[in-house]
């Protein structure tokens, strides 16, 4: 059976400014001699391989500018890959665009609703673009407006909607033609907690109909509670993938203790690494150290003692339990929120 989503060695280099929010940086001036002012070349994707089975909720997790939106852009025909291939249900997204577009529903990072239309009209015309009969269109539009709690605003122009309403409307529109694969780019950014829960419920419901969902997020909780498979992406590369549980289990020790001393030295760090149940110690800056271990709070007296033996005072400790946040930190040395 074909994967719902598959990519092989997907690369994207922007020669001009990428769409807002798509890429964070790594700009390096190209050495083109013919151009008087060389255009900056920005590598957004650097060889992405994905395999998403049908019926899965798949999460693409990473900080802003990691390449999540560019990956979604390529998979949804909106961005042309520099090299590599992407398939949706076995269809080459670039060479088989029109057929591929039938398979997908897309919720962009920023609401891109048709401001000239009312909420209901947006759904009705969207259904018409996909060739639904007029009866099907109005039935589905009513059901979706109801499900997304938009019925009382259905006949107003969406121009005056709040951010949360626009976001709900974008998702309703993407589901209107009942696509096999639904893409949600940062779906819960800017939503209040209630609406976020409503959204998660709707995503799970849609998934239970056997549909595949790919969502991007930099929210750990969302990735952890919603997704069955995850890929962690940074600087245009996938740095880890698996189920949330597998990924969390891959963090050495599980617990992360972020320590801060008055100052530290290599012998101190070596000593810390020999403490029982400690699996890894990494220096972070001149005064900090990240310590991975299979226990948390009970280690602190031993750390304090070890430090005291070297004449160093422990000034701050932060303990976190096994989480995707720690995983990201472990692989990249940076926090997701940085």
């Amino acid at each position: 059976m074909d994967s719902a989503i598959r990519t092989r060695d997907l690369r994207k280099i922007y020669n001009s400014n990428p769409p807002a929010g798509a890429v964070r940086g790594d700009a390096s001036a190209s050495a083109g001699k013919r151009n008087k002012a060389p255009k900056p070349q920005i590598t957004a994707l650097d060889g992405i391989d994905l395999d998403v089975s049908p019926g899965q909720i798949f999460g693409l997790l990473g900080p802003n500018g990691a390449g999540k939106s560019t990956t979604v852009g390529i998979l949804t025909t909106r961005v042309r890959p520099t090299s590599g291939t992407a398939w949706i249900s076995g269809l080459d997204v670039w060479s088989d665009q029109t057929t591929a577009k039938r398979q997908i529903g897309v919720v962009a990072q920023r609401p891109n609703l048709d401001f000239a239309l009312t909420a209901r009209e947006i759904l009705l015309f969207h259904g018409a673009y996909f060739g639904l009969s007029s009866r099907e269109r109005s039935e589905r539009a009513n059901a979706l407006l109801d499900r997304f709690q938009l019925t009382d605003r259905a006949d107003q122009l969406v121009r005056g909607f709040s951010g949360g309403m626009m976001q709900r409307m974008s998702i309703a529109r993407a589901m209107m033609h009942d696509p096999q694969v639904l893409f949600l780019d940062e779906p819960s950014v800017g939503l209040d907690p209630q609406t976020r829960l409503l959204l998660w419920e709707i995503i799970r419901e849609y998934n239970q109909k056997g549909r595949t969902i790919l969502l991007t997020t930099h929210n750990m909780e969302e990735a952890d509670s919603l997704c069955q498979q995850l890929a962690i992406i940074d600087h245009g590369r996938i740095i880890a993938s698996g189920t949330p549980a597998e990924l969390k289990a891959s963090i050495p020790g599980g617990f992360l203790l972020r320590l801060r001393f008055g100052h530290h030295s290599a012998p101190l760090l070596e000593r810390l690494a020999t403490l029982p149940s400690v699996t890894e110690v990494r220096a972070s800056g001149d005064t900090g150290a990240d310590l991975y271990a299979s226990r948390g709070g009970s280690l602190i007296p031993e750390i304090v003692n070890a430090a005291a033996a070297f004449g160093v005072e422990l000034s701050d400790v932060h303990i976190s339990e096994p989480s995707l946040e720690n995983l990201f930190l472990h692989h990249t040395g940076r926090s997701l929120r940085e």
């Binding site: 025909t77 029109t98 039938r102 048709d114 000239a116 673009y129």
Partner: protein, 256 residues
């Protein structure tokens, strides 16, 4: 091509145009009709311009209405929809090749330009009569020229709409559309430029010149005008050229 999707895209544009009908009417007809009133009625009535000028002016006014309506109807929504809100995205994701989305915009603009041209004739006639002499001797030629004019207007709108950013709309008017209007043989015929040989050559690069002269050739053939075969070839060439440029720009904007 996917006919159902194409028609649905067209239906959406018709629906939006109908919703904005009143402002659309003012935008399309107010300026040309004021021109008709001042130049055709006041200036002729007060003796500054000969009575025959009424008939010479009407095809020019029709050309202006058509060209500006076509450009406006395609360019302005595109400029807005390609802005950061990316409103056009739902149509780019419709199951149809994106070139057809551009073609649909052109068809919608072309229809609006034809309507604008056909409505301006009776309106101008009401203001200008008596003394207006129209001789529509070749209806087929009239239809051909009207369609070609509407076509290059809508294609021009596509090319401009996909090349100009929102903050440069004002510049587009003063740098492109205004010179086009004044050097487009709209308020005078091409032959009256005999005393300005350089200008007479330069205006031949302006598609509006062929629109004005073409409509003159079919509505008021009693006045001197450019040869009809030249007009047809030039209009067709501008149609093809602007469509090709517009399509290329559309793809550039649509896919990153």
């Amino acid at each position: 091509m996917n006919g159902k999707t194409f028609l649905a895209l067209l239906a959406r544009d018709v629906h939006v145009a109908r919703r904005n009908l009143v402002p659309l009417l003012f935008q399309t007809f107010l300026q040309p009709l004021l021109f008709v009133f001042i130049f055709g009625r006041v200036m002729v009535g007060s003796g500054y311009l000969p009575a025959a000028y009424k008939s010479l002016l009407l095809p020019g006014i029709m050309a202006i209405s058509m060209v500006f309506t076509g450009i406006w109807a395609v360019a302005m929504p595109l400029i807005a929809e390609f802005q950061f809100t990316r409103e056009i995205e739902d149509r780019l994701l419709a199951p149809i090749a994106i070139s057809w989305v551009a073609v649909e915009k052109v068809v919608a603009g072309l229809v609006q330009a034809v309507v604008a041209g056909l409505v301006v004739i009776p309106l101008a006639w009401i203001i200008l009569r008596p003394g207006l002499e129209l001789h529509l001797t070749n209806p087929l030629l009239f239809v051909c020229i009207t369609l070609l004019v509407a076509g290059f207007s809508a294609c021009g709108g596509l090319a401009l709409g996909c090349s100009v950013d929102q903050q440069h709309i004002g510049l587009m008017f003063s740098m492109v559309l205004t010179p086009m209007l004044f050097f487009g043989c709209t308020y005078y015929s091409w032959s009256t430029l005999d005393k300005f040989p350089i200008l007479q050559k330069v205006v031949l690069f302006n598609p509006l010149t062929y629109a004005s002269e073409g409509l003159r050739a079919t509505l008021v053939p009693q006045f001197p005008h450019l040869p009809v075969p030249l007009i047809l070839v030039a209009l067709a060439a501008f149609d093809v050229l602007l469509f090709a440029v517009g399509l290329r720009q559309f793809h550039k904007k649509a896919v990153s």
